[in-house]
Symmetry: C2
Subunit: 338 residues, 2 copies
């Protein structure tokens, strides 16, 4: 039989002694830093600049633990990557935990430990946080919100509206791994080949890319909606046509197989450790070299180019030499992937 | 029969066309500002200072709408007040919505409109956001995370560790209103007297207080765990004894009645529009005058004082002249109040 200390109770979210015990036994020893340890309602920060990037994301992925990652690692990497894609250096995270009554305290600890490891890897600190508890339901046990502050790099503008005809489109590695890993774990599918999520913090790789090529036009992480959504964002915001070649897009064989089995398009499946880069044609080799110098960008490839027309569209040259339009996914197929 | 457009579907959280439709029809027209409208993964901000306060809080209150407020107003005010109590001017909010499948789109719109009104009242802007959808469950329909950035005032330190023997303890108005209003709405209690939540943004009042008396020692908003938790935070962090007089603590008659009926201690019930202030005895009158000049502080009163011993304790002088210790609440009684 479990003792009350082993599972989350509603009173752990009441703001009293039980909340404080949970913080002191499970959260603070793991996310150890002097600002958070003060347990103030807001963290006081002295930043080296007042030019900031600010972002927030909630994570509701089910299951909480999946091959290659877990909701904690995902929450850190997703927010860090949003800041990095804006051309900023991620610095501080806020962590909001919503726990479901009945959740195992051991699982909370495992998630918080994963958050700490990912934060260290990404060189960010969790400086403020909040914990709430809701009644037991089918909710899946644990939601995480991470908000983040980054310092913007001077002279860098990586907005999705900057693509121009003649530019090159590059992806930092294979697509579809995260979504397929989560869906496989959720459905209890046992593919012969083990598929792992690519969830990883990209700020280091992107920082070195921007050191080498500060004039990169656009950066985007193809998360929810996958490559299809990210490319459409660029085509629309820049009012250009993005043309990609199916044969150039790196998709692992086992991911392609799983997608075909599950009825997904690998271009629409979420990635959590990949960057999409648009750069001038003259910068292509330098961008590829900078990405490939990083373990997370070893498989970086040019997958297409930018033309003027048809404006706002993404066109795919198929393996057979045909052409089809890549639409924005409707979002019907892949719920709770991040 | 409801059309699919009337209720939230899992696909509204998929990051594709449905997510985009929801944002464009329900959220962006209401939270209208140029930074948010860019729909970037992170907001780019140029702040007037690099000395910041940063905070995050999740809101899981049930029911979503209660007398005097709703989860949207609460989410804005709670975060704004955390920043204000740190002696900073709240500026920017990040908004994370977790919607439950089956929630009425009209309710989402109502909450977002309330967020917009509260943000305007508090003079903050929602500059970044995220929307996720989870399966239908007993979750209660809607969770909100608000993260916030404020600019710290130079020369102001309102930390809970600053109280000293001889200081005065002041509360900006009656306590217990928020928690009792929410519990009454949840339990369907129909008290003869209508009890409304006090949820309000305090940044304006606190800003004017700090203009008048920059040397205020401690500021705290007595939210979860109520006055009891906030006073214990001060007593422990400052290593002093906080002594309060029961007869001096403003509690509305109807709140006192409802607490006695429901078995709650008004000192342990959450407030969402009240500030607790500790100041030097010489500043008492100026603090009271500054608070009372604001509509939200009209009932401000001194409720006690700070002594050296017993360190770390909160003592209450009862109406009958006795004395009892005020403990940190356990958090057993009032779940999902904020």
């Amino acid at each position: 039989m479990k003792s009350a200390d082993d599972i989350i109770l509603l009173s752990h979210g009441g703001g009293g002694t039980r909340t404080s015990e949970l913080l002191k036994s499970v959260i603070l020893p793991v996310l150890d830093n002097p600002v958070l340890a003060k347990l103030d309602d807001a963290a006081c920060l002295s930043l080296p600049s007042s030019e900031l990037a600010f972002t927030t994301d909630s994570y509701v992925v089910k299951p909480l633990f999946f091959p290659g990652g877990d909701i904690g690692r995902l929450a850190v990497c997703g927010t860090v990557n949003d800041l990095a894609m804006q051309g900023s250096k991620p610095r501080y995270l806020g962590l909001g935990l919503i726990l479901e009554e009945g959740l195992r305290v051991a699982d909370v600890r495992r998630v918080v430990e994963s958050i700490a490891r990912a934060a260290k890897e990404a060189e960010v600190e969790v400086v403020t946080g909040d914990t709430k508890v809701v009644e037991r339901s089918a909710g899946g046990g644990l939601f995480i919100n991470t908000s983040g502050i980054g310092i913007r790099r001077a002279g860098v503008d990586t907005h999705v509206s900057n693509a121009r005809p003649g530019d090159v489109v590059i992806v930092s590695g294979s697509v579809g791994d995260h979504g397929v890993a989560v869906m496989s774990a959720r459905e209890g599918l046992n593919f012969q080949a083990h598929i792992e999520s690519d969830v990883a913090p990209l700020a280091g790789m992107i920082g070195r890319l921007l050191d080498a090529v500060p004039g990169v036009r656009c950066l985007r992480d193809p998360t929810r909606g996958g490559l299809a959504a990210a490319l459409n964002d660029i085509a629309r915001a820049s009012s250009v046509c993005v043309r990609i070649r199916e044969q150039a897009i790196p998709v692992r064989e086992e991911v392609r197989g799983a997608c075909s089995l599950l009825g997904f398009d690998p271009l629409e499946v979420a990635n959590e450790g990949k960057a999409l880069i648009v750069c001038g044609a003259a910068d292509e080799e330098r961008v590829l070299a900078a990405l490939r110098a990083d373990p997370l960008g070893g498989e970086a490839r040019a997958i297409g180019c930018v033309t003027a027309d048809p404006r706002g569209r993404v066109l795919l040259e198929t393996a057979l030499g045909g052409e089809r339009m890549v639409d924005v996914p409707t979002g019907e197929n892949l719920p709770r992937i991040c």
